[in-house]
Symmetry: C2
Subunit: 503 residues, 2 copies
């Protein structure tokens, strides 16, 4: 980065804001991993104070002037340069942040933290009624926020844009519709002609300490760097990074079901590897993050599914799993395990869903969020609306709200607009992987041996190192030579599941 | 707290500064409990930014004016009131903080964090040479800091005052000398006439998961509230609190030695119970902490030793320990265990030392710190000086620096002046306990049954609830009716060890 005065002054201020944001991120991480429940009010206040300082510092008039003065110094810096990219990002972020009153930022933090604690309890006790008043407040915050940010076509655009810059609700709707229609024949074929699959081997007694030993080995195998990371436990697994040298994952453990810890860990490893792979020159700036939530999700879904649910990966690693759990898996083959983890079956829990029905879980949430945001669905009616829609989409009905509308953390914060990025992530992932494979044949060859060195090198080069320098659309174009399409995902899914189900 | 304008304005600012200090404390806690080593530079920057903001906010001219304006409103508030106590504390703290340049605060944070990481590695590898340059910087920081704070008699006073307000180095020296002389006949008698004790039962294979189960039960037994706490693992155990509802402990585990995890946990529980017991009205203010490090240490040493190494406590709880470790302890009696944990034997490691030689470990550090601070001892000569002095004082010589001058965390931060508070803690503890027992006979009766309800009630009433409202001298006078004296500790130690050693 250059030594001119204004830019460096800006950089120093941005570094410090970033330090505070990372402190805030650590307080949030800790809240979910270590904090006793009783600590929630004090933690909410601490977070509110940090977020208020970040907000008022970043939205001050002088910051805008400094950004423009620094930009003026950079005349001639190439579009791709770190400096120009930082200015582009800061201009957008500054304009957006200025739309939110500081009072709102503080209130949002306080409510979110308390709502999160209420959600955890409600989920544990399967008690939607105790969460309802908090959901009302959250819906109110989301509506208020959409009002501040503003929108041209649909209210939902205002929030979606925070997670997937430049993406419109109408686009997402069209993509989801096309996806649903294109996948229908495949799902139908599986139901009618697929050989039945049995996933009973996943549901056995698996001692948690040994699960941990194995999932650590698998996280390492896919490329997660534990020397710059940490594995914790959380009710709702997530990844969080406090620098490229401290990017953490969390998972959850069931003593009678292997998949959640294993695939949760692989998923979060994909997220954390993205942060670990950002270029060191971007450190301490807001560019040292993912380009968008959708792009971030492409990394986690790629590691979880395209890598972690592939035949080659398990041909290579199943013997180790067998060694750790000889009683449970001594009689099974790598092929049995591969088929078990790829069983397509409509189910209740999004994070445990198969790759084909997963997107339907997202469509459900996408539609309910819009209804809540537009005032067409009030908090009290969410459980019934949820159950109706999941029956329509997946043909299953949750026996409890815990397995229904209380399953996800997202509505304990006003992060409406986030869910669609999960499905977009599947599409980005397939498109990235297809390109990587075409550009470097070693990617596919290695995966057949359970390795990801070539894939990770491609991701580092084309995705990770850039952090948030480019918009999602720019990044996809640069990395794959074309805009986002759902075709690669369809090709991937059709090929894989035709083989799995012997269609 | 009152509703007058200036005071409330002050309170809001103090709340926010406290939030940032607690955020900083969490970043520090995390650094020792979860953070991968690679994260150290980013974490140092985050802490430096937080500490700089706290420092510049608190030392601004307006803060001084606000403190005085708020004080003026409080005319007539009693000395004991929360409001008057807060103003007293803030005035002192403001004057002290103004003596440090912001640049120094940032530099100190950056160096301490890197020195801490260097110390951890040096200790692990028993490599003093790699730590030497950092120790030089730390000594330099301590000297610089003493210069900023200033002093009348001795340089060491400037730093001691940060941990034990109003205490002078000369006083500490006199107390330590008297203590050494008074304890000498007891130690001599034990060596000459005491029945030999065997602590081999402590050094056996103890599965760590079961140790954890037991130490959690013991922490609960002494009164630590896990619903407002958390137990983590750290190389150098410590307690940290982020609110009275989130006061955490750490310990360390050895698979072949029971004492460190057990007594480390009890020790840190004592610290954390103090923070858990501060009055809710003091929340979010700097008064919601211990009166001094010495008073804090009185709580940890009381729980660790007076309670946790008492005959009654183990008569009550040994059966549970036996149940968890039947192979190791099936043949032992509560009496055997009680004698093993009270074996007096000069040894190398401070935190594992018996109650009599513990104070000699402190005297060693107290003297070396003064020499370093005064420029009479340079970093390179510390290992030799350490080994010389521990041979003089305790008759033992560390085979490695790891068991010598690298054992403690303190010199990886410029916290010179802290060590004496450990020995003062022993004296405060004995004086508090003696008074509690006199004022409420249930204290002693309950302890004989392994319970601490009455003791905890006395501590809550006389010590905990007040937080930092009073100076250590004021608190001791209020709670016990007289100034600090080493007599109660001598009475306690003489009675206990005469019985243990059958003198």
């Amino acid at each position: 980065m250059p030594s001119e005065t204004k830019f460096n002054t800006l950089l120093e201020k941005i570094y410090e804001i970033n330090d505070l944001q990372k402190a805030s991120a650590l307080l949030g991480w800790d809240r979910q991993v270590n904090m006793p429940k009783a600590g929630v009010m004090a933690r909410a206040q601490q977070l509110a104070t940090l977020n208020r300082i970040v907000h008022t510092t970043f939205t001050a008039d002088e910051m805008g002037e400094l950004i423009e003065a620094a930009a003026a110094e950079l005349n001639g810096a190439s579009y791709d340069s770190d400096q120009a990219s930082l200015i582009r990002y800061l201009r957008e972020s500054y304009a957006d942040s200025r739309k939110l009153p500081a009072e709102f930022v503080v209130r949002r933090t306080m409510i979110s933290n308390q709502a999160h604690a209420a959600w955890e309890q409600a989920r544990e006790k399967d008690d939607f009624a105790s969460f309802r008043p908090w959901l009302e407040k959250i819906i109110g915050l989301a509506q208020e926020m959409a009002g501040y940010y503003g929108y041209e076509d649909e209210k939902y655009d205002a929030l979606l844009d925070q997670y997937e810059p430049d993406m419109k609700t109408a686009e997402v709707r069209a993509i989801f519709q096309a996806l649903k229609e294109s996948l229908a024949p495949l799902v139908e074929a599986i139901r009618e002609r697929g050989r039945p699959l049995d996933d009973a081997i996943l549901h056995q007694a698996y001692v948690i300490a040994r699960q941990e030993q194995f999932v650590r080995a698998m996280a390492t195998a896919v490329g997660y760097d534990f020397s710059r990371g940490h594995l914790g436990t959380a009710v709702h697994p997530f990844a969080a990074s406090f620098s490229r040298d401290d990017a953490r994952i969390t998972t959850r453990w069931y003593a009678d079901f292997l998949s959640p810890a294993l695939f949760g860990t692989l998923h979060e490893s994909g997220h954390a590897m993205y942060e670990q792979g950002t270029h060191p020159d971007l450190a301490r700036t807001p560019l040292a993050r993912g380009a968008s939530m959708g792009i971030h999700e492409s990394q986690s879904r790629m590691i979880e599914n395209i890598v972690g649910r592939s035949r080659g990966f398990w041909q290579a690693h199943f013997p180790k799993l067998q060694e750790i759990f000889p009683e449970q898996l001594g009689q099974a083959t790598a092929g049995d395990f591969y088929r078990a983890i790829n069983k397509v079956q409509p189910s209740l829990i999004r994070v445990d869903a198969d790759e084909l029905s997963y997107n339907l879980h997202i469509i459900l949430r996408f539609e309910l969020e819009q209804a809540m945001l537009n005032g067409d669905l009030v908090a009290a009616d969410v459980p019934a609306a949820w159950n109706d829609k999941i029956r329509q989409l997946l043909g299953v009905v949750p026996p409890t709200d815990r397995d229904g509308c209380l399953q996800d953390v997202h509505w304990s914060t006003p992060s409406f607009g986030y869910f669609p990025t999960y499905a977009l992530g599947n599409l980005y992932a397939a498109q990235f992987y297809e390109t990587a494979q075409q550009q470097d044949p070693a990617v596919g060859q290695e995966l057949a041996e359970g390795k990801t060195t070539a894939l990770l090198a491609w991701l580092r080069e084309n995705i990770h190192q850039h952090g948030r320098k480019f918009t999602p659309a720019e990044l996809v174009q640069r990395a794959t030579g074309r805009p986002l399409s759902h075709d690669p995902f369809l090709r991937y899914a059709t090929a894989k599941f035709s083989e799995v189900y012997n269609l």
